[in-house]
Symmetry: D2
Subunit: 342 residues, 4 copies
């Protein structure tokens, strides 16, 4: 089977990472590549690491250009996917790497994005309970946000096993590529090297409702989320430190057992041996997720920590993994659990 | 007044930072510099940034060498200060930058350090309620740990004003200098650049009881601490994200007011204007502390975040600030609130 | 004596570093701070590391605002200083941190900057032969470029002692702050971390004629310069590797002797002991210059290497040092040779 | 065909990178993995990014353990390969990633390594004139050093086309992984982040004779090399800035033409379009080489710059590429020209 794929938004970081993965996918043929402000430019000037595509030229993001592909990936600014998607036929697999179709509650969408809610698509985090079934054969996929990917995978086992109280406290550090390629002063190398700084503190980050949605579904009750993202001096990676008060009767053993069970058959999630902790460097460029969990008896809290590559498992790798499921391919096709380190 | 100061442990990061500050202190004359494995070496080879001291030679850390100074700073591995200190006369100001005399509860010490408790000295964090009075004129000072400095300053106002429930959840990122200068594989540049990783998770970090001690004192009740430290790819800096559930009736205004009051007259703690968040880069090489606080109404939590330079305010700057108080000098002498950025 | 100083261009990196130094200068009182696009903003939002100036508000860069100061520093884009300077009276000390008045040959200026040459001012690199005399009492100073500072100090002793053939080959690595604070995609943290890349290769960099001018003056003959600058993943610092073929009869000893003589009385240039090499980290935030030199007998070349902080000695520190000379103050006032490390 | 490969020295950076590549090689089956001080440890603890091999245990480096493989890779400290290699039969392909068999002149070896010369094997840089023929079918391969790989590829076209005078001046920046995984103080993250520093200046670096050997062979005359390596604050990558005086009659066009011809059919060397310069980030984790060349008419010099990943093309990728040739496989099998960026 040859799957012909178009990428809308090929000049950004998410688009570039997607192309890196698609180039290694044995069943994908890369079709149209589009950009808006960069239309007409050689990809070699915009994504110099993608040598095999150096001479490809970006086209404008139009329905005509995107037509005639089996899969269309949308790596567009939040809020722009819906308009493009509705012009693509129902026979085309549309994988949206933006936020437009992630949330189930229109009120959440409107509060955080300030525009009408476009709808909800099957959610591209196959490791969540029930997610694989919804993705298999689907023609529409909403790829999760990078933070919700890291956080949901770290915490859902505790909630699914009813081990944790429904108030999660999360602090996560992200590499700068998560903030995109648009030049802004606070993202300059001079500013970020040597610095850690928080942003969107106090519930303001748009990924908060998505985390709450995922954890609540696992828990079967509403889980509130206190989420503080921080910008770390590295290009890639998310380290999510997620804690919740343990329910009565929880022990270190019951916590460990819940995590072992949750990830026993997962190809990409690796529960580390006890005593070893996740590091973003270990999953650099990989679709793997490193998870470790501890029970702090003195504080009465479960502490689950995950490391992902925000651009791979957190964005483009999650998109390819979901595409594989939607197309009926082996879920791991074209993806690796091997990081580039050191 | 000329104060003659000796530094035991001058070849490490804490000792080097202390010397950097003492060189700028108008009333200090730098006396003996000692090291053990490095005794006999030129300081220029060990601390090449301290140009004015390049030709000084390290002496062994003995009572004879340390004798005859007005102040002796101990920048020694934890557990080694007590033996040295007891041989220094009661008329000498001894400023211990190790952990030996920080904890009030011998059981805490024994649990985390595994040796008999040496005692408790006045605690060198002047900004804490009551701390200045204990430091003024004292001949013994226990300089706080770097994490407890950042965390206690971020959270004590909430506890002192009875705004927060006595269960704090803290995640902090530290630059690598906090781990010291002894070569270890996981601290190699190749390993740390591009990586975030936690350590001492689940209550195991030795700074946990010190934080709990400080916050409990401010609260007037026992405060439990869930503390997760992470290693960040930067040489210096701590960003501490500290949260606690708000007590009933708390509002954004009452939180802000408590912090404004707590830091109104502090020369080194800067409560940022609303909307601006701490960044470790802004306090690089400075004794300043940036603090910001938010009340997340949806999650019902207070989120207080601080940034310090772990080597300056977190270690050597705190030591000099305490020395100034102990000697009756202006507390700010020789210290700056100006960072080196970008 | 109280010197009242204005800074035009206070929101950029050069302006920020200058303010950091002026705050530590015992005889300077900081007057007007100007910016153009940032006029009206609090300095605390633009330069959050300069805590004592946090509440100062930027004014527009006009003659009225700059009037009434003893010293006016111009940290403006290249080509904009001349227009401002000519409106400042001859009694005002004007220190230009831009390129406008550095070059002596109008043809060089026109070739590299494409506009009419504004003139030549005394050159603010006091360590060069004859430079101090020209600066003392001058009312106009042209601060050198950061690369020419590093390169000229590394190589002029070899040329002044007639040890080197008049063809210098220079490769220098600069931290990203040298490229300024204007947001550009290739300067994003995501792009620069983990990457080394050259620019302005083949003689195109505007600092090339300035280097040639300095080295030719030292040599007493025209020195050609092959200069390749590279962008390094660090915020600050320049490491300049400068080589030239040795003239006949040169020995390792004659090279060493020339450098020892050249820097014997220099307060800021430190010729390292043999076997120790410059590191940018050692001069971080300092006005010091580390220099080392070797004679590669097999290749017949002299290799001189210098490390500076591009913002301090390479820009703002050089400006203050020159101001001190122009005002008749001790040359080192307000400046340090102590770096912030690690 | 299934090729069974053993790796001696699997715990270091070169060994880890080799395993990363072999895991992606469709015809290689990974056999014994050995280490000395780390024998008995799980690879998951030593190379946590190599998830599929996490449960493999390191064996001691003995003839018995290495026996029975089709290929044995030696990633051992310099000087240790010869003793191991001579115990492996002539039917086994031995790929030495150390220096032992790179140099043709025993005097060079003895001068730089201080031990008897073990011999010379076919040199694993297929892009050099004549190198492929020597590698095809060979049972012994000497993988080049990382610096010589970058430098030889940047400069040999100029020498092969008789465009350059036989005195090359080279300054190269390397990521820290080139210095290995053995903990040393100057390689700590605290030391290297934010710093550039040279080492082995003045002809002392062991890679110098290897560069000279390669360039001399291309030139047909003895080429002297002035080589200055610098340590850059990044984990991986080499940027080599290589210059030489142009011979009379050289033009920008003749230089460009020589490089286009040299690399026209090379699968891994990419001569960038004019105006675009190599960046180490673009070849991160890739076997690609980016090359650009300029002719500086004013200085009369050719400036050729290359970027490689020191661990991939500079070590393990070069080893796999050579193995492919030696085994009669397609040279590119298991290798990629796609970097992981940003």
């Amino acid at each position: 089977m040859a799957v012909r794929a178009a990428v809308a938004g090929a000049s950004g970081y998410a688009g570039g990472e997607l192309l890196r993965l698609l180039l290694a996918h044995p069943q994908v043929e890369i079709g149209a590549l589009t950009g808006n402000s960069n239309a007409g430019q050689r990809l070699g000037a915009l994504q110099p690491h993608l040598l095999p595509l150096a001479d490809r030229v970006l086209e404008p993001t139009t329905t005509e250009v995107l037509a005639g592909h089996d899969v269309v990936f949308l790596a567009l600014p939040h809020g722009q996917s819906a308009a493009v998607a509705e012009q693509l036929g129902p026979e085309v697999l549309v994988v949206d790497m933006g936020a437009d179709f992630r949330l189930t509650d229109p009120a959440d969408w409107e509060r955080f994005y300030g525009s009408p809610h476009a709808g909800t698509w099957p959610y591209g985090l196959p490791e969540l309970p029930g997610a694989r079934a919804a993705l298999e054969g689907s023609k529409r996929v909403a790829v999760p946000g990078c933070y919700p990917t890291a956080v949901s995978l770290a915490l859902f086992p505790a909630y699914a096993a009813s081990l944790a109280e429904p108030e999660a406290v999360i602090v996560a550090a992200s590499g700068t590529s998560g903030a995109g390629k648009t030049p802004k002063a606070h993202l300059l190398g001079s500013e970020v090297m040597g610095s850690m700084t928080p942003y969107g503190v106090g519930g303001g980050h748009r990924h908060t409702p998505e985390m709450s949605q995922n954890l609540s579904a696992a828990a079967g009750e509403q889980v509130s989320v206190s989420f503080t993202p921080t910008l770390a001096p590295m290009p890639r990676g998310i380290l999510a430190t997620c804690t919740a008060k343990a329910k009565p009767g929880v022990t270190a053993e019951s916590v460990r057992a819940a995590y072992e069970k949750a990830f026993a058959d997962e190809p990409f999630v690796h529960l580390l041996p006890e005593g070893q902790w996740p590091a973003t460097a270990s999953v650099y460029g990989s679709n793997a997720v490193q998870v470790q969990v501890a029970y702090d008896e003195a504080a009465g809290r479960i502490i689950a920590i995950s490391a992902i590559d925000n651009l791979t498992k957190g964005t483009a790798g999650g998109a390819v993994q979901s595409m594989n499921l939607a197309l009926g391919l082996d879920e791991s096709t074209g993806l690796t659990t091997i990081g580039v380190a050191p």
